[in-house]
């Protein structure tokens, strides 16, 4: 676990805002949103982690996006955490790096109202195609 975390630390350097080691199998790494794409690319292409899913949480002051990467060889979950402005939630897409992220970006767009720069297919996935209200179901009131 330590070796891989050291590699991540070395590569990300000052981009890392915080590291939380919940236990030896669950590690959360906080990164500012402008570096998230390069971090995702490193996790997926260099470390060969599997992208499991992304979670969006409305923390009221900000919106938190977690990119969960499974390092299957060692059974460790590295989660990249980033916080974006809840008034203008926008972040770069990762679908050009990971095809498997297509659906979750559409889902985060319709349920949380997050825009993904560079992703031109943000049609509703789960909600009705004509649901284009201002209320996002997973936002806190």
């Amino acid at each position: 676990m330590k070796e891989t975390l050291d590699i991540i630390k070395k590569n990300f350097g000052k981009k890392i805002l915080n590291i939380k080691v919940h236990n030896k199998k669950r590690i959360y790494i906080e990164i500012s949103p402008e570096y998230i794409k390069s971090a995702v690319e490193f996790m997926f292409n260099r470390l060969k982690c599997r992208f499991s899913i992304a979670t969006g949480t409305d923390e009221r002051e900000y919106i938190e996006i977690l990119y969960h990467f499974s390092f299957d060889r060692k059974g460790i979950f590295y989660t990249l955490r980033t916080k974006i402005d809840s008034k203008k939630p926008e972040i770069e897409t990762i679908t050009d790096i990971i095809k498997g992220a297509k659906w979750i970006e559409r889902e985060l767009h319709e349920l949380m109202g997050i825009s993904f720069k560079g992703n031109d297919d943000l049609r509703n996935l789960l909600l009705s195609p004509d649901y284009k209200g201002r209320k996002y179901p997973l936002r806190k009131q």
């Binding site: 919940h22 669950r26 499991s52 977690l66 969960h68 989660t79 659906w103 509703n124 909600l127």
Partner: protein, 399 residues
């Protein structure tokens, strides 16, 4: 619409799938017999589970997530309890570990048998379908006798399991496994030896390793494409590191490989169950720990469901309800990979390929045949009735 798109013919399959009987919409784009594109539409069955979960207590959520899926009814609770236990750092008693493993593996076997039957049905080879479901039935009966229900066992609980297994029923489980093994051999032979099935499965829906990784597929879909991932081995939980078993792996990535992976997995599951029953018989102690409250924090739990990794993320800001609960089912990753796997194949292959990832079904419906007076028919009587009916139809046609 671009010029390219104008040339293709679109075959709509859905919104209610005629064969899989599930609400999903596949738009197959074809040029003659050849499939050139696929668009998948979802959301016909969206129930807002994640939102609902935010208004339920940690204990109530177990019953909610158990109803996400009918066939992997224990997979979501399994991943959810793992997530909450990861959040709070709870350690569960050894006895609970074995019981959880038995429930999880029983589910894997009956789910794979269900898939195999459907695959046979899609191929037009209904013998495999009938055999497969016939041998699935005794397993569901064991589930009913041991866990109290054929589906939705409600065995999982944060910090352990809800009910102990009556160990006198251990022999029943073991016998069920012993009886199953020769049937699995028979089914495997049916698939391997029949030139038509073999030819049909061999070429269909190939997902190479590179694409399997790009689409982040999981479970048997990944393992049939040579990706050696299995949460039970990689990140062991419950009793998976306390028993001996192997991950089944193939390289070809076609429907044949997916079938073989699942057949081998059933054998491994039987092996795991037998070991768990043995270990459980000599074990004394509690089946759960006493839990007062769930602290603030976040946790990730996962379980290798029959279709692959089920992922649950739970975040608590204190209190009795979670602040956020994220759920990911394996089909979410696997179904998307179809947009690659069907390309270049023929239309009949596409129908099979779309089913090969084993998209989730609900099989909770069950029936009990009774006559007008409410008398229940026995299985033998039902077979007799069926034969009489067949004979009747035969006579009518002869006229």
């Amino acid at each position: 619409m671009s010029k390219e798109k104008k040339k293709v013919t679109e075959i709509p399959i859905g919104p209610y799938h005629p064969l899989q009987e599930e609400p999903e919409f596949f738009r197959l784009q074809v040029e003659g017999e050849k499939v050139v594109g696929l668009e998948i539409e979802l959301g016909y069955n969206h129930r807002g589970i994640e939102k609902l979960s935010e208004s339920k207590s940690f204990d109530q959520i177990l019953f909610l997530v158990e109803r996400i899926c009918g066939i992997c009814s224990t997979s979501h609770p399994f991943a959810y309890v793992n997530a909450v236990e990861d959040l709070a750092g709870f350690k569960i008693p050894e006895k609970a570990k074995y019981i959880r493993t038995i429930v999880g593996e029983m589910e894997r076997i009956h789910s794979h048998l269900l898939w195999l039957g459907l695959a046979g049905h899609f191929l037009g080879y209904n013998t495999v379908w009938m055999w497969s479901w016939k041998y699935r039935e005794p397993l569901l009966e064991i589930c009913e006798k041991v866990f109290g229900n054929r589906q939705h066992y409600a065995m999982m609980k944060i910090g352990g399991v809800r009910r102990d297994i009556d160990i006198s029923k251990g022999n029943l489980i073991k016998k069920g496994m012993e009886d199953l093994l020769p049937k699995l051999d028979m089914l495997q032979k049916a698939v391997e030896d029949d030139p038509v099935i073999r030819a049909r499965l061999k070429i269909a829906g190939t997902l190479p390793k590179k694409e399997a990784r790009e689409y982040c597929v999981v479970g048997p879909t990944a393992r049939a494409s040579g990706i050696n991932i299995d949460i039970r081995k990689d990140d062991p939980y419950a009793a998976y590191d306390l028993v001996n078993w192997d991950v089944s792996l193939r390289k070809e990535g076609d429907v044949y490989a997916k079938t073989m992976v699942r057949l081998e997995e059933m054998r491994q599951s039987a092996k795991i169950i037998k070991q768990c029953v043995d270990k459980l018989s000599g074990l004394k102690g509690d089946i759960d720990i006493d839990i007062k409250e769930i602290p603030e924090g976040e946790g990730i739990g996962r379980h290798e469901a029959p279709r692959g990794e089920v992922f649950h993320y739970v975040k608590s800001h204190g209190g009795s309800v979670p602040y956020r609960h994220k759920v990911k089912a394996p089909s979410y990753a696997n179904v998307l990979s179809d947009e690659f796997a069907v390309i270049g194949g023929t239309i009949p292959d596409a129908a099979l390929t779309l089913a090969a990832v084993d998209p989730c079904y609900c099989c909770t419906e069950r029936m009990q045949a009774t006559d007008e007076k409410g008398r229940k028919y026995s299985p033998k009587e039902l077979i007799k009735l069926s034969q009489e009916k067949t004979e009747e139809i035969r006579k009518k046609q002869a006229k």
